[in-house]
Every structure is written in structure tokens, then in C-alpha cells.
Symmetry: C2
Subunit: 253 residues, 2 copies
């Protein structure tokens, strides 16, 4: 019985951004589990069982993956982006911690291109200096803590990437986040809406914090809010480039 569980990141959606390590794991998997739209991205092949599941089933899906691996199957759990960034790896380890019978299962995490890296690349280099990533979902933490983190990060000069910015069940949070940030950041701070980076329906928009409209984002949008150092290079009819210089104010260089 030598089953295994690989928790793999498919990147933002473009097959050209899937690492060879992940492709190799999928090529010899007996079972692939994950949220249905991500499982649908896995290349079809005889001899692999696909187990698509619903979005809200993380812990149940994690337990199922551990059970199959413990029975000797070679299981790949797929996530969008990187599995360790607001995705399935933490859910698998939560399940593992509550189920000691699976501690012997061989587990690997295979990294992927997470949404903020893909969106940043399309926009320029907005993450060129110190930055943070915050999930705006208040399903798993209180909203007050999210505001505290937004203010701490902006106050200390971090560029901020927002994951899970908005959904039907969470319609006001992104607008409120922009209000918080506008109280301490210049209105000219660049705000990038990076939607579906690397996919055919990709859309990258650059706004200024003073005039940004939260309702133009959706669940598939990764939002990057610059620091006071972040700059926009205008290039006529080419898309503008947004970048954060390598040095920060008060620099000795």
C-alpha cells in the first residue's frame, strides 16, 4: 500500500502557466479531486477517476482525498493558483490534524502561479517591493480583523493584494475596504483589477484609489493596491505599466 496525495496548483488558468511538476503528477494520478471548474481543467486520460465537488466542501473533499491515498491510490487534489495560498493545502492539513489515522500518508504540495503573481505580471511589477496578501472573505475571520490588517499594511507602506474580494453573499466588503484605505493612502494610489489573468477573458484595469468602483470587480478578480511609492508609466496607445520601485523612501542607496 503506497498511496500518495499531491496537492497541486493549476495556476490562474492558462495551460502555459502549469508547471511540469504538476503536469507530471496529473499524468500518473489514479484520482483527481477538487472544485468542479478546476477538475474540468485537467487533461482527459483513460484510467483516472475524476471527483469534482462543490465549492463549499473543502474539509469533506480533503478527508476523501486522504482516505483514498491511505487506501493506496495516487491522488491529486487540484487548486487554482497556488494550493498553499487561500486554497486547498491548509484544508487538507486541518483534516489531517483531526484524523491521526492518516498521518502516515505520503503528502506533497506542488506550488503554482498564484493569482497575484499572474495579475501583477500582466500589469507590470506592482509587487516589486514589500507586499502582503489578504483574503477579504469574512466567512472565516471577523470583519474587524480584516480592517485592522488593511490599515496596518497600508500604514506601514505595504502593497496589498486582495483575494476573494467580492461575491453575491459579500457585496459590500470591497467598497468598505477601499474606504478604509482611502483614509490613509493618497487618492492617486494605483489600484489594479486583474481579472482572469492568462485566460481568454483576461481583463487588466488600472484605476486610482480616489475613483475606484468596487462593483466592477467579481469573484475572479485579484485586486492589487499600490503603496505611496507605486508608479504608473503611461505609454500612449500601449497599456500603462504599474510598478513599485525596489527602493523605499528614506533610502540610503
Amino acid at each position: 500500500m503506497t498511496g500518495s496525495l499531491s496537492i497541486a496548483g493549476l495556476g490562474p488558468g492558462d495551460a502555459a502557466l502549469v508547471t511540469p511538476e504538476v503536469s507530471a503528477a496529473l499524468a500518473c494520478a489514479t484520482d483527481v479531486l477538487g472544485y468542479a471548474p478546476y477538475v474540468a481543467r485537467v487533461p482527459a486520460r483513460e484510467g483516472v477517476r475524476l471527483h469534482p465537488s462543490d465549492n463549499r466542501m473543502e474539509l469533506q473533499r480533503a478527508g476523501e482525498a486522504l482516505r483514498l491515498a491511505s487506501e493506496g491510490r495516487d491522488v491529486v487534489m487540484v487548486s487554482s493558483g497556488d494550493p498553499g495560498v487561500f486554497a486547498m493545502a491548509a484544508a487538507v492539513f486541518e483534516a489531517l490534524e483531526s484524523a491521526p489515522q492518516w498521518r502516515e500518508v505520503s503528502i506533497r504540495v506542488l506550488p503554482g502561479i498564484t493569482a497575484m503573481l499572474a495579475a501583477a505580471a500582466r500589469a507590470g511589477a506592482p509587487l516589486g517591493h514589500d507586499f502582503c496578501a489578504i483574503s477579504l472573505s469574512d466567512n472565516l475571520k471577523p470583519w474587524d480583523l480584516i480592517e485592522l490588517r488593511l490599515l496596518a499594511a497600508a500604514g506601514a507602506g505595504f502593497v496589498i493584494a486582495l483575494y476573494n474580494p467580492i461575491s453575491k453573499a459579500r457585496p459590500w466588503q470591497l467598497g468598505r475596504a477601499f474606504e478604509c484605505l482611502a483614509a490613509i493612502l493618497p487618492g492617486t494610489t494605483p489600484v489594479i483589477f486583474g481579472r482572469a489573468a492568462g485566460r481568454p477573458d483576461e481583463r487588466i484595469d488600472v484605476h486610482l484609489l480616489a475613483e475606484v468602483d468596487a462593483q466592477k470587480a467579481d469573484m475572479a478578480t485579484c485586486i492589487i493596491i499600490g503603496s505611496p511609492e507605486t508608479r504608473i508609466i503611461r505609454r500612449g496607445d500601449k497599456p500603462s505599466l504599474v510598478y513599485t520601485p525596489r527602493s523605499a523612501s528614506g533610502s540610503k542607496a
Copy 2:
């Protein structure tokens, strides 16, 4: 004259972590520029000119890449990890901003697996909730700003990834960073030293903040300091797993 410049991330070192997008760009490049050890990773091929350069030549290298592209060459600038995270993309845009004659050059940024994602994957899922990335180099920003950011991030509950933690010219900064963090984080906070993740000389060590020794890190180490929520799963003779749960304290879930 239709030259181009692709600023490409080679990932942490393992060829299995180089995206197909980057491999394709390298396969049709006429010129490859970068820090010599990164250029050395590029597969040899007839018809490509390699331009390795020294570590401290970022702006000069960036200008050279823009010049070659403006002359019609298909140039790839290689970085380790992701080119937009403490790497060459910001340097290229700094050079571009100061040289309007190159604004028409076609430029793409090709994302890569940045060091913290590779190190995190090898250790478990320490970046499973809100996190930040800080360069510990005080060559390009004052040390006081680094301390301010460390304290702001730890105080607000972010997991912290440290890039450029230590070097011969910067021997004391990492130890001082640990001292700052130990003043506000529990001594039991996990600290991961992820060295050369994905390479043959990979080494992943998990320490506790109260007993961590900065001198065990080197330039190739990415350091991840947990939040008070971060947990360690002990697994007998298998390596321990470190993860940060998806929910944060005060959670409503």
C-alpha cells in the same frame, strides 16, 4: 524592427518548476540577460547570445535589455523565482521610466514560482492565511522602515516571509529581526528556514522563534515566520508539517 523584451521567472531552481510559458520564450530568444548563475540555468541552444552579468548591475543590465529589444532583438531577461518579486522586473521599469526613447518596446513579464511559495510547499502550508513578504535588505531602504514593517505585520497577525535575509555585508539584520518579532510573538511561533527548495541541496528546517539561530541562514534561504495561528503537525519519522489554518481567531465560522 519588432524586437521584444520578456522578463521571465525561472522559479527556485528545479526545471520542473519552470512554466511552459517561460520555456517557450527562452526557446525563441535571440539574447538572454541576467545574473550569471541564472543565465547558467538556461538550456544551451545554437543561435542565442548569452549575456551573464554581475549581481549588482541591475539597472545597467535593464538598460542593455531595453536597448537590444529596441534594436529588434528578442530578449529574455531571466530572474530567479518570480521576476516581479524582489527581482528584475521593477529594475527594468525603473530604467524604462528614465529613458522615454524605449517606451515603445514590447515588454512582457512572465511569472514564476517565487521562493516563498516553493519553501512553503515543502514545509506544508504556512502561507494558508493572510501573509506578507518583506526584503530584509537595507541597501534600498532604511533599517528603521524594515523594523516598522516587521512589527506592523506581526502585530496584525500576518505570516511573514523574509527575502534576502542575510549576507556577508548584512550579518546582523536577521538576528535583529528575530529579536523584534520575539518581543510581540509567542516563543512557540514556528519559523521555517527554506533553503534551495526544489534543488538537490534543498534543506527545510522548522524552528521555534524562542530558539532560532539567524546564523544558520544564508543568502539562498527564504524564511517564513508563522502567525500565532500557525500550527505544527508532528508525524513521527516523517518531516513535520507547518500550516496556517484558513480561519483566524474570533472567527464566525
